[in-house]
C-alpha cells in the first residue's frame, strides 16, 4: 500500500492551541503590566524566541525551562500565575556565543511561562508556554 491517506487524517495541531490558555489566574494582569513596563508599550513580535518547558511539571517547585533567542540582548522570563511574576532577566553581550539560558523556576499552579526578548535592533519578541501543575493522575 502506498502512503496516500494524508489528506484524510488532517490533525491540525492548531486546533489545540486555544484550549491551553483556559483558567488563567488573576495574576496575569500583573504580568501584562510588567511586560508593558519593559517594552514601553512597543509591539511584540513572535517567532524568534524558542521557549522549552515541560507541558506538565513533574514537580512544580522546580520546573526546568530553557530559552533561546539568537540576536537578543536580553531575555526576561515571567510566570503569570505566580504572586510575583518576574522570574529572571538574562543579559547577553556582543561576544555571547549563544543567546540562550536554562534555569529552574517555581510555579504555584498551572500557568503560562512568558519569555520576552529584547533584540539588538531594539524590537521585542516573545514566546509563551503553558505549564500544567497537577496533583497527579492514574497511569495506563
Amino acid at each position: 500500500m502506498e502512503l496516500t491517506r494524508r489528506k484524510i487524517l488532517a490533525i491540525g495541531s492548531g486546533t489545540f492551541a486555544l484550549a491551553s490558555f483556559t483558567g488563567l489566574p488573576a495574576f496575569a494582569s500583573l504580568t501584562d503590566d510588567a511586560i508593558a513596563a519593559l517594552t514601553g508599550g512597543a509591539e511584540i513580535g513572535e517567532g524568534a524566541v524558542v521557549l522549552t518547558a515541560p507541558e506538565i511539571a513533574e514537580n512544580g517547585n522546580t520546573v526546568p525551562v530553557k530559552v533561546e533567542a539568537p540576536g537578543a540582548v536580553s531575555i526576561t522570563l515571567y510566570a503569570d500565575g505566580n504572586p510575583v511574576p518576574n522570574v529572571a532577566t538574562f543579559n547577553f553581550g556582543p561576544l555571547s556565543a549563544s543567546r540562550s539560558a536554562s534555569t529552574r523556576i517555581r510555579l504555584a499552579a498551572t500557568q503560562n511561562v512568558v519569555a520576552i526578548a529584547k533584540m539588538e535592533d531594539g524590537s521585542f519578541q516573545m514566546a509563551k508556554a503553558n505549564v500544567k501543575v497537577t496533583i497527579g493522575g492514574c497511569g495506563g
Partner: protein, 565 residues
C-alpha cells in the same frame, strides 16, 4: 485506490447485511474449527524489513479474557476518530461483522456470550509461536516491546518483575521501552535493565538532577536488516513521576521532549538510517500529535493507551501502529525501505486466540516454571462471579465497582476512589474468582488502601484534575489513563468544558444529598502517589470483601452522568 470514505461506507453496508447473529456455548467448537492458526498468521511477506510489536503485556503470562471498552471518548482532534470509536460503531468503521472473531477481539458488545465462543486470548507461549512463525518468514525481523511488561500479576509482584524478564528473554526482543517498570523502584529497574540482553531505550528518560540523558537508557539503537539501516528510538511514558509515585525513582525525569526527539531523528538520519521507528509509550493521541510536529518518523509503534486497531493510522508520512494490551495482540509490520525512505508498508494486528494458536512448548514450560512456586496460593478460589467483571472504559467498569464496594464496606467509608488504570483482565459470568484474578486488577508496588477525610471542595478538585488528564483537548496534556473510579459518589461530567467546569451535580449516593464543599467526608482509596501512605493492601481488602459475598453480582452503575460528548 479506495478512499477512506468509500471504505467506511462499504464497511457499514457489509455489517448491515450480516446483522447480529446469536452465538452460544455450542458455537465454540465450530468457531475454533473455522478459525485456524494458519489463517491468523497468514501474511504475504512484503518489502525488506519486518517489525514485530508487543506492548502493555502487564505481566499476563497465561491466556485471559479481556473486554475492550464501550466508552472511549475523544476530544479535540481525537473526537469521533479511531481509537475513540467503540462497539458497533467501531465494527462499522472497519467493516467487521457482528459476532465475528474480530468483533470479539477488537470491540465491546456481547462479550460474555462471545467469550464462550472464542475463549481466552493471549498467553506468552502463544505469542512465542506467532513470533517464531514471523521469524521463519523473515529471520531478521526486529522484535520490539513497548513496555508495561514487568507489572500486573501475582508472580510479577512477588518476583519484582523477574518472571517477565525470564520469559521475555526467551522471546529475544531487540529493544524495549518503559512505564510501570519504574514502579519497581529505580534500584530494581537498574538491576533488571543491566541484565537485559537487548537495548533498554528512552530518548526522554533523563537524569533528574542535571536534566541530561542517562547512560542506562540510550535514546536509540541502529539495526542493519534487510540490506538497510533502521533506527529504533525509544519513548518512555512521559508522565511517570506525575501518574505514578515519583519518589520511587527520584533519579529520573521524563516528559515528552519532542525537540529532543526531533534532534534524535536528525542524528540517526545523519548516521545513515533509512527508516526511523519510534517504540513509544506515549499513548495513541500523544503519538498522533508527535507525528505531526516531529518530522522524519516513518513508524510509531504505539503503546500505553491499550488501543488495538486493525490498520495503522497515518499522520503525514508517519504510520502509527497500536497493538493492544495484556498479550492479546501481536503486530507484524512489513516495510519496503529503499533509496533512503519508506516506500510502502503492510501490517497485520494478529489476535492471540489461545484456543487456536498452539502454545510454544519451550516457553510454556518456562512460564510454568515461573508460576510453580506460587501456584497453590495464586489459584485459591476466593469466590464466584455472576457478572462480567471488566475494567476498560473511561468511567467505572464492573471490576472497579466491586473494588469500590470493597473499600466502602471493608474500610467503613462514605466515598471510595479507585485509579482509572487500563490494565486488568476480565472475568466472565460463572467463573471462579481466584487470588490471581484479584491481583490481575490490583497488583502494584504501592497498593496500600488509605482511609482519610476530604472536603467536598477537595473531592471536586481531584475529579477536575483527573478529568483534565483525560479530556484536555491538547493530547500533550493527556496522561492516558481513564477517569478515577468513584464509589458512593455520583457526578455529572461535561467533557467539552475546560478544567474547573467539567464536574457538577456531585452527590452522596447513599443519601442522595448534594456534596457540600465545606463538609468533610470519609474517603477510602488506593494507589496513592504519596509516600508513606498507610493501610492494608488493596488485594487483601478486595479478597476479604469477596469472601463475605461468596458470589459477586455487580449492578449497572448509573452514578456518572456524561454529557458534552
Amino acid at each position: 485506490m479506495i478512499s477512506r470514505r468509500d471504505f467506511l461506507q462499504v464497511g457499514m453496508a457489509a455489517s448491515a447485511i450480516v446483522g447480529a447473529s446469536g452465538f452460544g456455548n455450542w458455537a465454540r467448537l465450530a468457531a475454533q474449527q473455522s478459525l485456524t492458526q494458519d489463517q491468523l498468521l497468514e501474511f504475504d511477506t512484503f518489502g525488506n524489513v519486518s517489525l514485530i510489536h508487543v506492548t502493555d503485556i502487564h505481566g499476563q503470562l497465561k491466556p485471559i479474557y479481556f473486554r475492550e471498552p464501550s466508552i472511549n471518548i475523544g476530544v479535540g482532534g481525537g473526537k469521533g476518530v479511531a481509537p475513540h470509536v467503540t462497539g458497533s460503531d467501531f465494527r462499522k468503521l472497519y467493516g467487521i461483522a457482528d459476532g465475528s472473531p474480530s468483533h470479539y477481539a477488537l470491540s465491546s458488545g456481547d462479550f460474555s456470550s462471545l467469550a464462550q465462543t472464542y475463549g481466552r486470548v493471549g498467553g506468552l507461549d502463544r505469542v512465542a509461536t506467532v513470533i517464531k512463525a514471523i521469524r521463519a518468514d523473515r529471520p531478521d525481523a526486529i522484535l520490539l516491546d513497548g513496555g508495561d511488561t514487568w507489572h500486573g500479576s501475582y508472580t510479577c509482584l512477588k518476583t519484582q518483575g523477574q518472571d517477565m524478564v525470564n520469559v521475555m528473554n526467551a522471546l529475544a526482543p531487540d529493544a524495549m521501552t518503559f512505564h510501570w517498570e519504574f514502579t519497581l523502584g529505580s534500584d530494581r529497574v537498574a538491576e533488571l535493565v543491566e541484565q537485559l540482553p537487548f537495548a533498554a531505550l528512552g530518548q526522554n528518560i533523563f537524569d533528574a538532577e542535571w536534566d541530561e540523558p542517562t547512560e542506562l537508557f540510550p535514546p536509540y539503537k541502529m539495526f542493519e536488516r534487510g540490506g538497510t539501516k533502521i533506527a529504533v528510538i525509544g519513548q518512555a511514558f512521559p508522565y511517570m513521576p506525575i501518574a505514578n509515585p515519583g519518589w520511587m525513582f527520584p533519579e529520573y525525569a521524563f516528559g515528552i521532549r519532542d525537540e529532543h526527539m526531533a534532534a534524535m531523528v536528525k542524528e540517526v538520519r545523519a548516521a545513515g538510517a533509512e527508516c526511523v521507528v519510534v517504540l513509544s509509550h506515549n499513548g495513541f493521541d500523544v503519538d498522533k500529535k508527535m507525528a505531526s510536529v516531529v518530522p522524519g518518523i516513518d513508524v510509531i509503534l504505539s503503546g500505553h493507551t491499550h488501543d488495538a486497531l486493525p490498520e495503522p493510522v497515518q499522520v503525514g508520512d508517519t504510520i502509527i501502529v497500536p497493538s493492544g494490551s495484556n498479550g492479546k495482540f501481536v503486530s507484524r509490520v512489513d516495510l519496503d525501505i529503499r533509496d533512503g525512505r519508506m516506500m510502502g508498508y503492510r501490517t497485520k494486528l494478529i489476535p492471540i486466540f489461545s484456543d487456536v494458536i498452539a502454545p510454544d512448548a519451550e516457553v510454556a514450560a518456562l512460564i510454568d516454571e515461573q508460576r510453580a512456586p506460587y501456584l497453590a496460593e495464586m489459584l485459591e478460589v476466593v469466590g464466584q462471579t455472576d457478572s462480567l467483571l471488566y475494567r476498560r472504559g473511561n468511567f467505572n467498569g464492573t471490576w472497579d465497582d466491586l473494588i469500590c464496594d470493597a473499600l466502602l464496606s471493608e474500610r467503613d467509608a462514605e466515598i471510595a476512589l479507585s485509579p482509572g488504570v487500563r490494565w486488568g483482565p476480565s472475568l466472565v459470568p460463572g467463573q471462579d474468582i481466584t487470588r490471581e484474578d484479584i491481583f490481575g486488577v490490583t497488583s502494584m508496588s504501592y497498593g496500600q488502601a488509605y482511609r482519610s477525610e476530604m472536603t467536598g471542595e477537595f473531592l471536586k478538585v481531584v475529579l477536575e484534575d483527573v478529568a483534565d488528564n483525560i479530556f484536555n483537548p491538547d493530547p500533550y496534556y493527556q496522561q492516558g489513563g481513564d477517569m478515577v473510579r468513584t464509589g458512593g459518589l455520583g457526578y455529572r461530567i461535561d467533557v467539552s468544558k475546560p478544567q474547573g467546569e467539567r464536574i457538577s451535580n456531585m452527590t452522596l449516593v447513599k443519601t442522595g444529598e448534594a456534596i457540600d464543599p465545606a463538609k468533610s467526608y470519609v474517603v477510602a482509596g488506593w494507589a496513592s502517589v504519596n509516600e508513606d501512605t498507610e493501610g492494608p493492601q488493596i488485594w487483601d481488602v478486595v479478597e476479604s470483601h469477596i469472601r463475605k459475598l461468596g458470589t459477586v453480582t455487580v449492578q449497572d452503575n448509573t452514578n456518572v452522568d456524561v454529557v458534552g460528548v
